[in-house]
Symmetry: C2
Subunit: 360 residues, 2 copies
């Protein structure tokens, strides 16, 4: 049976969750509160789970500052479902701007192309995605929306602020959702798979302007219309109840951390500690342009792949889990999502420094 | 915080889970085995979760007796996603038979109509769904498949055996999957939302013949092709990891119960105890034709709605949760899925008998 000793988890996703959240889940698995029925076993239409759903929605609204013009949806199928669901609803033979900043952007582009014209308004593909495109976008006239990936887990880049576009933004924020405040007025929709900053895999948060959702096509499957889920308050069919419950607890934890302003400071402090270490010696190489660095996924290289492999193994033995880079790019990656503690990053940096002495 | 005292949970879905399964989940939330990383926090591509996925697939294959001609997929979006995904893949302007035995069949029919011709080959709608259609189906010539709902949670009916059709069966088995053996050779595909017999809400089991999957359309979103998920072994994108883990544990539990033959005997014994009680007094009315009675969802009525309301409240106070009938039909319903213990049904029957004496 499992122990309660935990490694420092740098996984890129699914990623770590706050320990206090997991402990609260444990306490409610056999019986949600004093209901006598476990949190996985309640009817999604019963008062106990309805309260969970309401808490999740209220937590999300408070953190992002969403008014009634916005809907909060708890869907399934991951961001990969949004890659086709958004253009299926909104593109409808028209044109949309897509900003190509990595593999996930490229996947969104591929799925959108079935539903209309995808105009690449910015791309860093030619530079192997080591930076976020700068300068004004090359926008298509009359674009219905502008789609971008706010943070790129594989390449370790992040938009420091929202791109400036004439059409409303649709954002895949899977890997930096709620890691910092957002300029809501620029967006029509933000979506995020939960498994990095919000909860376990299995639920996708979608916040969407209700008027934008209403502009979507009606002649598509009922499950694929945003308006269906708005009308049915995420209960058109049985939603992923446990992942939503965990997300509600994460929202509560985030509020205690000072909301998005508080967590942003926390995230900046963690990233600084790690980037400072990597910048402090020529032994480590950071491929990403400094202005494009992600505060969520820190990527770096060593002089050889052998050394990289050794670092992954030695780190694991020392209790630091999941620092192998994505298989598409190699190298090393430490994902330091919201739930990562500053003290754990500091311990990791101390480990890196001593490892450099031994192996550099 | 939650206690560990549990009510007898007759919810129609999400439904109860075996206590030993929940306890094993609890033990692995902070650390899966000795890995130091909780089961919700492992990468879906890491060896620990890959082992979970393999155990889930192997468990499913053993229980259903699936050979290599079959694929086992762990998808998301519930049965409601299969309502459109199956016809989107396979109907393609052709004709399919649909058997209309209740609200869920009707929903599947509605979504299929976007993709071709839906031929109603049997229906009990005119009889308000109180029985399963008998006699030969009125099949459309050249039908691509025949879709049916094996068990109808709302009306409390169940196909005693598979319908005889010339085209391969596609079955929504959400509410009786793995409650008894199936005649696999009649099927092209079986799908089931997990939240009744297999696990928590958030994962959908799909078993599909590989040759049938390969016949599906290619010009649809990548996520909506069964072949995508077969090629990527349910990891085209991040799957719902925790629900899959719970399902793997449920499969292990089912194997210990004697597999599908064992659980069928268990289910027959439970249903007999409850139906015998309801048949034993004119105080209780069972609307469903006897030959069509569900072994999973037992529905009945009392002489008045006031008495029904009182029974729901008194049962709840006595520790019997969730016996209110579906809002579309009213009355009473006890869902006695795989994880329901015979002793709990016997205790409930004793309660019903004493309640009848006091209120009859």
């Amino acid at each position: 049976m499992g122990s309660t000793d935990r490694k420092v988890n740098f996984n890129a996703g699914p990623g770590l969750l706050p320990r206090e959240v997991i402990e609260e889940v444990r306490e409610n698995l056999l019986s949600l509160g004093s209901s006598g029925v476990g949190v996985m076993e309640h009817s999604h239409r019963g008062k106990e789970f309805v309260a969970v759903l309401e808490a999740a929605e209220a937590g999300c609204r408070d953190l992002l500052g969403l008014n009634d013009e916005w809907a909060v949806l708890f869907l399934s199928g991951g961001a990969s479902t949004q890659f086709y669901m958004a253009p299926m609803n909104f593109l409808n033979g028209g044109t949309a701007n897509y900003l190509d900043t990595g593999d996930w952007s490229a996947k969104a582009i591929k799925e959108a192309q079935r539903f209309g014209t995808v105009h690449i308004a910015a791309s860093s593909k030619a530079e192997k995605y080591v930076r976020i495109p700068s300068g004004p976008l090359d926008e298509a006239p009359g674009a219905v929306y502008t789609h971008f990936t706010s943070n790129n887990t594989i390449y370790g880049t992040q938009w420091r602020q929202e791109p400036e576009a004439k059409s409303p933004l649709i954002c895949d924020a899977s890997s930096d959702i709620m890691s910092r405040p957002v300029a809501l007025d620029k967006y029509a929709m933000i979506y995020a798979g939960a498994q990095k900053n919000l909860g376990p895999a299995g639920v996708t948060l979608v916040v969407v302007r209700k008027d934008f959702a209403a502009s979507g096509r009606k002649d598509i499957p009922t499950m694929l219309r945003y308006t269906t889920h708005i009308e049915k308050e995420s209960c058109f069919n049985t939603p992923p109840c446990l992942p939503i419950y965990v997300m509600a607890l994460v929202f509560k934890w985030l509020a205690k951390k000072g909301g998005l302003e508080g967590i942003e400071k926390h995230n900046e402090a963690k990233a600084k500690v790690l980037y400072d270490c990597l910048d402090g010696s020529a032994f480590w190489t950071t491929p990403v342009e400094k202005a494009s660095r992600s505060l969520m996924n820190v990527v770096w290289r060593l002089p050889s792949e052998e050394l990289e492999k050794k670092l992954v193994a030695d780190a694991s033995a020392a209790g630091f889990h999941g620092i192998k880079g994505h298989r598409n790019v190699g190298g090393l990656r430490a994902s330091i999502y919201n739930a990562m503690e500053l003290a754990d990053v500091e311990r990791f940096v101390a480990f890196l420094k001593s490892w450099e002495k031994a192996n550099g």
